[in-house]
Symmetry: C4
């Protein structure tokens, strides 16, 4: 009755394929960003008085490209860091993970909106709000993923330290709160929203903490 | 005369490369969906009275993005589940598989049609029909794949349970029937078609059954 | 002085990374095809008298999608078949391989030209010629790749049968000739060119021959 | 307190995942190039007097496609060559690497600008400058990557020869200088800039030097 394939454990699987698929999705989402920097049409060039002037006028698009590229790159890096200690997966985690990837893949859209409309005074505020929303979207499913995986050491190593897990959850709750504040403030104080996002972006560059393991398992496996 | 490479078995090969290639295709198809949410032009923004109003007006596009993203994500997940017990491949299975991937890769097109024209009363019905067709397209080659692989245990483990295989075939025949009903009803009762698709979509979230293996092989290998 | 990495053999390397990179390129080229089926604008729909009529009018695009998807899919499949016996690579082979991938990645362009302009009587002939050229482009670098790899058993197993290699070269020379005839005839007899391409396309479905190995090495390794 | 996963070494990791992710990014960036060759609209065809005439008029786009495709292909090839002796990575190297990939992914944009505007006399100079800048962008982060990895044998094998490393750094400094000269000269002597780039491009075809290892470690591991 049992499966003839040694590696088959019912319900729980290793994360190898989840990682391969995610690597692909990250790689594509990051590369699609360049498609949002639009090649000018002849009338655009005339409007801006030459190709050189058009290309320098694109600076918010370049800024958005750099910002989003680094952000997706660091999400990719942190994702691998996370899957070093979340070392198993199941159907529910896979589904939550799809929602996480959905939020990451959405990033080219707010990036393009920001790049296109930031320099237009009438549209600056919604352009900034859109970008803040895009920044916020992957944080919520990340929090859901770690809460689900950490709950009673469900998908992590039984010796993974509880304090380490608590710190990570707190950090994600803080990120969530900050990005909600950024969204809210973007309606009235767009430059404060931009600064908050810049600050959070710089914090992304910090290396993630090394996972801590107890000598004895303290969690109960489900 | 025989091949010097140990892993070379004439005609039958393992599915490793088929999976790697499919992972790539799934990852790209899922990521391309965002390209179908169009960045507005200045005249679009004027027509809708502002960027914020334009962006909220895009709700069918967001809905279609979420719906199709989850659908491709779950196809990816079920594909891996399938290739756990369809553990070998041959030339014919590879060809059938190309038609399956072709149907999956087609999904961004009906998704975009739906997102673009659903809110236009005159075009709502063909927009819904198109989406139902897109939903239906991958089901037929999936059925062909499993019928070919299951026939006399052709590409599955000899101990794989016949009842398990029969159930899976029945489930795919039911999906095929439901999606054909959705397409047909979309012409006269578009909202019923949408509800049927929503129901099928929710059923997608259920975890697939664990494969069942007999103690003794009951199938004959070809 | 020698490399401390066991797998490092100067100049010759295994093909693992070449395959992984090629799998990625094939997967993306095949998925990009859907982007060439254009979402209609409102004026297109009015011109064709409705969305349903527009969508049925797109049949050459669907045809080109299916044709090119299968073609890239089978190139992928045959590429893996080739790299079973071309089991090593070097710098020159990698460079030739880049030109091969360049020709494969070009396919979405002639596919789109064909789908867009085939039904326009004034543009039908150049649309067909373009497609024939797209079909022809990957054949020349494929021939270069196998001639380079087979020459004095340069990158293949020393026991690989000479007759098997000769047959493969002849088959590629025949494909090259046929596609040149298709290009030439497309200027005056476009339907004959289309038929030739359809025939070659159907021949693609045939499984490739199993490689044949001699009992004793007959080639000299360089 | 220590990690239960054998392969976990704090701070330093192997480069396997960095390579898989980079392979994906290279594969996508190289394939996106074809999207920059635009499918003509009916008015474009009328303006150029026919489809055949339009397609031949696209020659700078084809040239840019071939040039950029080969360039990304060789970057991919050299990247693998580099990661044979830079065999470990850490957080800082990963971040620098993201900037390197960002520069590679930017290439479709200057490629499209060049292809679109090179034949327009009024826009030829900025089109060439843009392309020179695109060519230059990946060189700076490549230099940063090797300087960081080589510094006191930080991420390379302790026996890697110092002279070999010095030569590689010198080669990258020379490339950087040449491409800055190409950018500067493009403003006044665009054809000289193009020739410089063509020369650098041809030098790309040369196989990279084999890494040299000393008998005894001469570097100190940090």
């Amino acid at each position: 009755m049992s499966s003839p394939f040694a590696e088959d454990v019912p319900n729980h699987r290793n994360t190898q394929r989840l990682e391969a698929f995610s690597d692909g999705v990250f790689a594509i989402a990051i590369t699609l960003l360049i498609l949002e920097i639009k090649i000018p049409k002849h009338e655009d060039i005339e409007r801006f008085g030459g190709l050189a002037s058009y290309l320098t006028h694109l600076w918010p698009s370049y800024l958005a490209y750099v910002f989003s590229f680094v952000m997706i790159g660091i999400y990719w890096s942190n994702h691998h860091w996370l899957l070093r200690f979340v070392y198993r997966t199941n159907h529910t985690f896979n589904l939550l993970h799809i929602f996480f990837l959905m939020a990451v893949c959405f990033l080219p859209f707010p990036t393009a909106i920001f790049g296109e409309f930031f320099t237009n005074p009438a549209l600056q505020i919604p352009a900034i709000t859109t970008w803040c929303v895009g920044f916020f979207l992957p944080i919520a499913p990340t929090l859901a993923l770690i809460l689900y995986a950490f709950r009673r050491h469900r998908l992590v190593h039984p010796r993974l330290n509880r304090g380490f897990m608590r710190n990570l959850v707190l950090k994600m709750v803080a990120s969530l709160t900050f990005s909600l504040i950024a969204i809210a403030s973007s309606f009235w104080f767009p430059m404060i929203a931009l600064s908050l996002m810049g600050m959070m972006w710089l914090l992304f560059f910090l290396p993630p903490a090394e996972p801590v393991y107890d000598e004895e398992p303290t969690g109960t496996m489900e």
